[in-house]
Symmetry: C4
Subunit: 270 residues, 4 copies
């Protein structure tokens, strides 16, 4: 009998903590998001020297309150989940754990309390509250396009890394210590800063030859941005097309342009 | 009788201040645009110390003249409008009000006079004079494409904000005060400066680990620019296609590819 | 008789200076390009203090030699042209004149000799030597795409200018003189540096509010780069498609997708 | 008899050093890649002053070991290759030679030992181990798209170089030595830094006119990034389309959309 009551309680908790399509679940999610935002804000404030000096103890206290809440939430999630281990080792489950660990670790090591910003990942839950499906399908199109581009982008990144290594080394030989190119790794860092068009200017070439080589690197960097953009545009167009595809007989969405049968009614496609 | 004369006057004023397809309306709009440009120029000049010291009082005087003109114009618009409240709470009406308020506020608070640059928004009226429709339809295509991209871009921006928060905090832990990473908010500011490839260089990592993490952030920033570009390209192609679509029976423009009936003749589409 | 000989000479000169598809014309063009490159190189060298101090007089002498050659060439072009005035007021004719004027002006005003780099425009003649048509048609596709994008890009640029004006003024009010925001025009310059993701860092916000506003501006700048890219991609695709279109009956190239009749055989299209 | 044994040995070596689809060949390639990575890492470490002071002789010793291994590998490749000269003058063969030369040259000239980073190019062999074909075909699509864009991009780059030369010279005249624009080549370097949106900030305009001209250059640079992106997107779409094309009768891949006959079965296409 206790088991049945237990079961009922567990199911009730499950509805609240895991579902966002019920009134209580939605309320729970909104409160949770606010707590996450508040706790991130408190970490931000703790890092500002002036605020820490003035209100340090209060912030630490608030931080423990937040961590208490999140620990309770984590416990409830494990308790109410049908398959606790599956939840614990899922992406969201690991994030939930990582979001409370740093505060406890800060008892042993200083500095770790800032790592609670990993809670920011939990904010992505917000998409579950706002019309979930719409955003999930958009996110799906995005990640499909990126996955389909993966091979092309790997070739591209490998070429860029090689280029940056070679040019970084050449600049180290040409410029030397005087202009800030103190070692090959630093020169490669400079080459990355330049080819991505970030251009801090903390290190910059001074010799004519160095400036000439840097100009070439900039033009290359400016030009090749077109490559990933072109790749993603093409894949995005395909993924968007795919997302719109429907079975001509049952109107169910078709998952991929390469599908040969409708997964809903079994009709042959194409 | 007075009402009828009043009505006639009102309609005449309406033609001048609201319409840009009549000679008098066009002239009014051109004079208005010039006044706006002159008044913005005078604000610019007032902000330059040298010019302010030499001609300060004249500029302030000119500014009051401009504000007088615009106040009169605002009054005429309210007077001649058929539905004064609708105008007052429309986007353009609010801009028109905000464009005159700062000068009056400057009697109470110093510094507010610069806010009159909100008049710059009024310059967008220029599209009404130059072949209005052509530009409006282009603007329509642009805003349609952006609206259609909104969900995808929200997912994208949320991911970027999360990434920037996490990496900003890591850099605060790794680099610390010495390199200018004085607090987490400042580090996040640095992360935004870096991921958008702006790269001021006022804050830049000094430690090897920090430079390594910064390099990764740069490459991510350089790569993911492809994502919004791909999204907008695809939607722009669709919006352009849509803008060209015509009803096969009456040749009226079709508003959206998803329309099922022609809004002009009622014929079934697709 | 003298006229006929004259005519023959004129035609001969015309073949050499205006045509690049004859051996002598090609040779002339190649020598011309080399002279242009050498004269630009001499201007570059003159501007470097060390080289000027050592070889100043020689460089000035060489510059006069080059200018003499180009003046002779300009005279020959006018003499041999069928319609001298048409040539003189054509784009290339004006460039040819502007390319020799600065040297003569340098007798009156110092500093103007550097303006001879306008000769760089003349280097674009190189496309006439290298398989002209191929490049001209590619250039045609590019300029067609840009022309078709003009209205959309005007709307885009007008919006960006308005945004930059408003945010530049806000930053002037927020940051003030201390951070380098000395006047509204300078603040607008900073806003342009930021929104285009150039980011020199000579002026950068110091206050938290200023950094927050700057972050928003950066994200906007990073995001809206997608807009012109999307516009140009779509138009480029259309222009490329158009360049490939052929009349189904006579195979002549069709100039525009909107043509209703083939300009070669008169057949109805579409 | 010795020849046959020799032949067998040669074929065996060939299988190991040139093939990556056999177990021994794959193992060889993996060991090779690790040695390359280690040798590059040792060059990086040698360039860091602190590490060089502490472990200099050990690193030099390791470097000679690596070079010995690569020299042996190079000799084996020449020995086992069917056409040694074809290998020696192939792209990979030249890279293999350049990868060992710098160490030997360092006996004569200091500084050359850093050039061994040319070994980084050899890392691109990694694609041979990971499912070779998939990446090769993706690389093929990329390079096809870039080749097809070559003419358009040449026109684009030539225009940009001309623009940068003209504006660089104008800035030299406007700004002069005080702001760091010490010569025309340096000003052109600044113009490239600006138009590519890198923006180091080591040189930046100080005068109002210079800042105005710089703003225009930035906006141009920000806008025209759309041009190469548009070009590459269109060509990428075409190259992707082409890579998917198959002969309708024999299903063999079709090399180009412009092919008139299937290269496999001779069937007429289109």
């Amino acid at each position: 009998m206790a088991t049945r009551e237990n079961d009922l309680l567990r199911r009730k908790i499950y509805t609240v903590v895991f579902r966002s399509d019920t009134p209580s679940g939605k309320l729970f999610d909104i409160i949770l998001l606010m707590l996450i935002l508040l706790s991130i804000a408190s970490v931000f404030m703790e890092s500002v020297a002036k605020i820490r000096d003035a209100y340090g103890p209060y912030i630490v206290f608030a931080e423990w309150i937040f961590t208490g809440c999140f620990t309770l939430e984590y416990a409830l999630r494990i308790y109410s989940s049908h398959k606790p281990f599956k939840y614990m080792f899922s992406f969201l489950g690991i994030i939930d754990l990582l979001a409370i660990l740093p505060t406890y670790l800060s008892l042993l090591l200083t500095g770790t309390q800032y790592l609670v910003v990993i809670r920011a990942f939990r904010l992505l839950r917000v998409f579950r509250i706002l019309k979930l499906n719409r955003f999930m399908s958009e996110g799906h199109i995005l990640s499909n396009a990126l996955k389909a581009s993966l091979h092309k982008i790997t070739v591209f990144v490998a070429s860029v890394v090689t280029l940056v290594t070679i040019i970084g080394t050449l600049m180290y030989i040409i410029e030397g210590n005087a202009s800030g190119f103190t070692s090959i790794p630093v020169s490669i860092y400079w080459a990355i800063v330049t080819i991505t068009t970030v251009g801090y200017g903390d290190i910059s070439p001074q010799s004519p030859l160095g400036q000439f080589l840097a100009s070439i690197l900039m033009v290359i960097g400016y030009g090749i941005i077109a490559v990933p953009t072109g790749i993603v545009s093409v894949e995005m167009a395909r993924a968007t097309e795919e997302a719109k595809a429907k079975c001509p007989s049952c109107q169910a969405a078709i998952h991929s342009i390469r599908d040969k049968f409708c997964s809903n009614c079994g009709k042959t496609l194409i």
